[in-house]
């Protein structure tokens, strides 16, 4: 009887170890399978549609100066390496222009002074990194929607793509991001040139960065150079709509 109990227990142990091993090994294999990745990624569409339905045009919570993070953490590129950017930085961004092009009736090239002359918005919001941490900062900038209205989007435009001056890895083609029109025309979506009342530090994206408050940190493109209005995202970069999206992250980063 004791013998049999032991055999049973051993069987159970070996059985569950084998089952667990199979499952874990299987999960590893599945993680690397492109077709299974597509199945897992289908959840993103569900999240996007559910959130667009529930969240709509509601505003992200705004905080007070008492809630500010003592240090606003910077992540990703802390200082772009390119010669062009460093020349612009040396000249205090005098020669820098934000170009707005693509499917627009009036292409624009705006200097920092011209952007600062436009009606501005200041908001204290929370920045959430995909890694899990959060920081609260005060942003001042021009609502992206007002710049896009000046440029006059063509009717077929569905996305706004933002191209940056930084490369995270040498030769990666440069950082870029994209958002849909609902986010582009959201009142809290800014082209920000100030953080906590001072010109944007280099580590946080000088001279201009995007704030798209209801999404994660990697959508908040820094070191903006060029904005393009497009009908589709394939054909740009890796085709997934952003630097991290091309590396497996969700295009809709509202979660």
């Amino acid at each position: 009887m004791t013998r049999q109990m032991w055999t049973r227990r051993q069987m159970l142990q070996r059985g569950s170890a084998a089952f667990g091993g199979l499952l874990l090994g299987g999960c590893g294999r599945l993680s690397q399978s492109p077709s299974f990745h597509r199945i897992l990624s289908s959840a993103e569409q569900l999240t996007y549609r559910a959130q667009r339905l529930i969240v709509g045009q509601s505003l992200a919570r705004e905080f007070t100066t008492a809630d500010l993070s003592p240090v606003f953490r910077s992540n990703g590129t802390a200082r772009p390496r390119g010669a062009l950017y460093n020349q612009l930085l040396t000249d205090n961004f005098e020669g820098w222009r934000l170009t707005v092009g693509g499917l627009v009736n009036r292409p624009l090239a705006l200097s920092l002074a011209e952007l600062r002359a436009l009606p501005a918005r200041t908001q204290i919001t929370r920045h959430d990194c995909v890694e899990g941490w959060s920081a609260i900062g005060q942003w001042t900038g021009v609502p992206l929607g007002s710049v896009l209205a000046q440029a006059q989007l063509a009717p077929e435009v569905r996305f706004i793509v933002l191209f940056c001056a930084d490369e995270l890895e040498r030769g990666d083609g440069g950082y870029y991001e994209s958002i849909d029109l609902m986010d582009a025309f959201h009142p809290q979506t800014l082209l920000a040139y100030e953080l906590n009342g001072r010109p944007l530090p280099v580590a946080n994206g000088a001279p201009l960065r995007l704030r798209v408050e209801r999404q994660l940190g990697y959508k908040q493109a820094k070191y903006l150079m060029r904005i393009e209005a497009v009908a589709r995202l394939d054909g740009i970069g890796g085709g997934k709509g952003g630097y991290w999206e091309d590396r497996g992250y969700e295009w809709y980063a509202g979660i």
Partner: protein, 237 residues
């Protein structure tokens, strides 16, 4: 005593939903540890990042790789697993609640009876569990009070907390329901609560599995697969 009495212990719905649930919980827990490892620090309040004061740090690099999904550092794939199976878990749990409310499973099998929640009865049950004395005969045909309370705690306390704190971590959802931030005291508090509640679920699973092994693994596992359960002979009913 004669031939052992065999009863149909779990309904088909309970059995199917239990195994889908088990798969989902296992996968969201492990992919959750993968996500946690991207920043293995816990904070309290509206904000919290490495320059700020952390409430708790788990190792230098968080949990060991064998406990995470996938079993190597890969935040984006971990997130894909986590959100896919979180959705499935939500659908599965909603179906379980709906069926269990309608069928009376919650009322008849899970809610303790008045006599069962008497402190003396609970103390007696705890004492019996500590001595590894499990119910026999008629008493084995229904859940004991500790079982009922732990199942109810997971279903009606931990699961809703995990869902709500998970949603509070979403910057999109926060815009729709800013009251969640007030309820949990901020996104970083919500993240810490989400983690703590998930650890309690992991603890529940551990105890649950130990109890299955101690109570007779074949009989218990079979009752959750085929529904057939051999009542341990004991007190005559």
């Amino acid at each position: 005593m004669g031939t052992p009495e065999i009863i149909r212990r779990h309904s088909l719905a309970t059995r199917c939903l239990h195994w889908i649930n088990a798969l989902c919980v296992f996968l969201v827990l492990m992919s959750g540890l993968q996500i946690f490892n991207a920043d293995p620090l816990l904070y309290w309040g509206q904000f919290g990042a490495s320059p700020d004061h952390a409430l708790l740090a788990i190792g230098a690099h968080g949990f060991p790789h064998w406990a995470t999904l996938p079993a190597w550092q890969d935040l984006s794939t971990g997130r894909r697993w986590h959100f896919f199976f979180a959705w499935l878990l939500v659908f599965n749990s909603a179906l379980y609640l709906l069926i269990s409310m309608i069928s009376g499973h919650v009322r008849h099998d899970l809610l303790p009876q008045r006599t069962e929640i008497a402190p003396a009865h609970i103390a007696h049950d705890i004492w019996n569990h500590l001595r590894l004395r499990f119910p026999k005969g008629a008493d084995a045909k229904h859940y004991n009070v500790l079982q009922k309370l732990s199942y109810l705690g997971v279903i009606f306390v931990l699961a809703p907390i995990i869902l709500a704190t998970g949603l509070t971590m979403s910057p999109g959802f926060d815009a729709a329901c800013p009251w969640l931030l007030t309820l949990f005291g901020g996104r970083q508090s919500a993240r810490t609560i989400h983690f703590a509640a998930a650890m309690l679920v992991a603890l529940f699973i551990l105890v649950h599995l130990i109890m299955v092994v101690l109570a007779g693994p074949w009989n218990e596992v079979r009752s959750m697969i085929t529904g057939r359960y051999v009542v341990p002979p004991g007190k005559q009913s």
